[in-house]
Symmetry: C2
Subunit: 433 residues, 2 copies
């Protein structure tokens, strides 16, 4: 049973705080193991990666077979059905079109003092994308990471994907091909992150690493942060559905279960202004849980972390939503655009009853890599900007330096940075000669 | 003596690689101590912060005196000279004008399938800015962190600044006032980061923490990353000056020393196409090092990490610059704009001989918080975007869902996520009824 809360109950604040504070993930402390793996890869390069792959993935590779060859990728791609290929291509086209609009503009201007100022964006030269193996090896995630990188202009895009016991997901290979990935290596875990960050004889290092992974991968990314850039450390997925009674309870039940089926630690919450409707949705969930393939996972998530919250009105719903700062927010109300204006902290918003969150997972266009665990308070979904960086530019004319240089000199002196001040003063003296 | 390199020497590649790989900072491993401090602040709140402040800053505070009152700030501000106040205001105005141009636009559009897509930016609600105490307590850094936050629209901006033995820098207080900081606490170290991230009885938690600090502060920021957002972990400062012989060697010597005087671990590099000019600059540095107030620091930096590199031509200089990925890059050549087009990885570029890097530290307008230690390969200087996050939006019409829903259903099935597919299918079935 999920929890049923009502904002008019005296106990609501405590119960809501408990819901927000629930620790849904107990990450094992693998930091020491990961530190050793990274040190091993830095010291021994390929040899360490091959040993660790034999150990963890039960797969004997050589320096020559670390990389998946173009011919092998061709073969895997050929094994994919036409329907799946077309669906992936539809998804890729839509993701590309959305992300192309994120390309930022460069700017240069001259201010009243005569200083020319501005900035210029450029792409990261080389990026690595971690793709999990096994059950969580999602071709859609390959598209969601690789396409923004390519739109940004990343010159060299590398994928690492573990293939335990040698099992390859052909759709992942096809997604790499469609997205324009340049190199694919069949390695995973902390050893893959170390190889991407520091390089080995066979894997040239990259500048930025993105993509989801298990606790080992997350700990390794945290450790190499600074040596390379990383994306966020993702937690278990969440959805918040805000709905009035004018909805089909089964639609919303399926939306709630589409998060719950990801992971027993996933969280699905319904907020409604109609308690009876809330019960109807919960009933619809129970019905679906009788037959869903992943009912064990979805049922555990719904039982342990699910919630149905009844509010006085939709303004209150929006306020609760901002406290939750959900990764995914569905607004199934009469005027979802208006309600969305009252929401500030959310990774992605899905407007209206014909926009199930699953559309956003695959083909909507926006990225499905989104901030989890309340981090939508301060971070954004993956975008083209994650694969770019900005260089600021400035040029002083003699007149501009005369106008603003003395203030710089004063501040340098007040910070006891004499050479800073002198570097301005020497030029001003020349100009005043 | 700095190293003198020439790209035409056979040993150049090895020597340049050694220069790039030089480990300039030996951060002590304070992680265990920091973990204990964070746990203590989470468990005991104010009491822990007060105890740790007594211990590390030799300062006895109470919950009532943790915060610097508005009256106290008034008094500190009144003690600042008019010249310094005007210089800070000039700097603040220019920084604000530059950063106001970084405010990103929201976008919404409808695509050919009828899907409405877009994104919306919003500010982080509350941000914390760490300001170091003692010698590195720079009012300019307060402006550079606080102004972008306020331009972004951060509602609550908190500063923590340690005041060892109770010593306060009045200019820091004035900078807080000018930048619109809302709360100032006289606490520092890992305990300040823990208080900002988790909150105490007296300090409400924030969503994002920026600002430089020592090894304890850096380790604490790395640990709270995820619970809150953080900016980069800054390393020692660097400058690369690319100059032809048509420059005053003393100007460039001062520019090189303005980095070197920050820190013995700072790095200053000159690249020139004229070996004789390179020697002239090195000579000018030696002359300045006879009298500079901070000659001990600047001299050590120049001796241990300084370099003068002679190149065949400026195209080669640009290629080397991209391998260095400098925090600060001065282009003192005839056509600096043209040369800048050949440079991809740099935090900030200063164009022409009248744009000393010190201008950018104070009054140019661009941010002086920039990527160090080659991280300009993948990251940018601080900006308004660091205090904002993006929410993606999508709305399907029935027609749009009919057009793209089947592809989502296909991909959901191929990823064995049945509820995802059913959430689309149930709606399509309704529409086809």
């Amino acid at each position: 049973m999920p929890v049923f809360l009502d904002t008019q109950d005296a106990s609501f604040e405590d119960a809501f705080a408990a819901l927000l504070g629930a620790k849904r993930e107990d990450s094992p402390d693998v930091d020491a193991v990961v530190a050793d793996i990274i040190a091993d890869v830095r010291a021994r390069g390929d040899a360490a990666v091959l040993d660790l792959t034999a150990k963890f993935d039960r797969l004997e590779l050589t320096a020559e077979t670390l990389r998946v060859s173009a011919d092998e990728i061709d073969e895997y791609c050929a094994s994919v059905s036409d329907a799946e290929r077309e669906a992936l291509e539809t998804a890729a086209d839509r993701i590309r079109a959305y992300h192309a609009r994120q390309l930022p503009d460069d700017h240069m201007w001259t201010d009243p003092e005569g200083a020319t100022l501005g900035w210029r964006w450029s792409a990261v030269s080389a990026a690595g994308l971690y793709v999990p193996g096994g059950l969580a090896s999602y071709p859609s995630s390959v598209l969601m990471n690789a396409i923004p990188a390519k739109v940004a202009g990343v010159g060299r895009l590398v994928v690492t994907v573990p293939t335990p016991d040698g099992v390859v997901n052909p759709l992942v290979m096809l997604a790499c091909r469609i997205a324009g990935v340049d190199e694919v290596y069949r390695i995973g875990g902390a050893q893959a992150i170390a190889a991407l960050a520091y390089g080995t004889q066979s894997v040239a290092p990259v500048d930025k690493i993105t993509g989801p992974g298990n606790a080992f991968v997350a700990a390794a990314k945290r450790r190499v942060f600074g040596k390379v850039g990383i994306d966020m450390i993702a937690g278990p997925s969440e959805i918040l559905v805000i709905a009035d009674a004018d909805n089909d309870p089964d639609f919303l039940a399926l939306d709630l279960m589409s998060q719950a089926e990801h992971d027993e630690s996933a969280q699905s919450i319904l907020i409604t202004d109609d308690a009876e409707f809330g019960r109807a949705v919960a009933h619809a969930v129970d019905e679906r849980l009788k037959t869903l393939e992943r009912r064990a996972i979805a049922g555990a998530s719904w039982r342990d972390y699910g919630a149905v919250i009844t509010v006085r009105d939709m303004a209150e719903a929006a306020r609760l939503s901002d406290r939750i700062a959900p990764e995914h927010l569905e607004l199934c109300v009469a005027d979802p655009e208006a309600l969305s204006q009252n929401v500030t902290h959310a990774g992605a918003i899905f407007l209206g009853q014909y926009t199930p969150e699953a559309i956003g997972d695959y083909v909507g266009g926006p990225n499905h890599v989104l901030p989890t665990a309340r981090s939508a308070r301060f971070s954004s979904g993956l975008s083209v900007l994650d694969f770019m960086k900005r260089t600021t530019l400035s040029r002083m004319t003699p007149e501009a330096l005369k106008a603003i240089g003395p203030a710089a000199e004063t501040l340098a002196k007040s910070e006891s940075l004499e050479a800073h001040g002198l570097s301005v003063r020497a030029r001003l003296d020349r100009l005043n000669d």
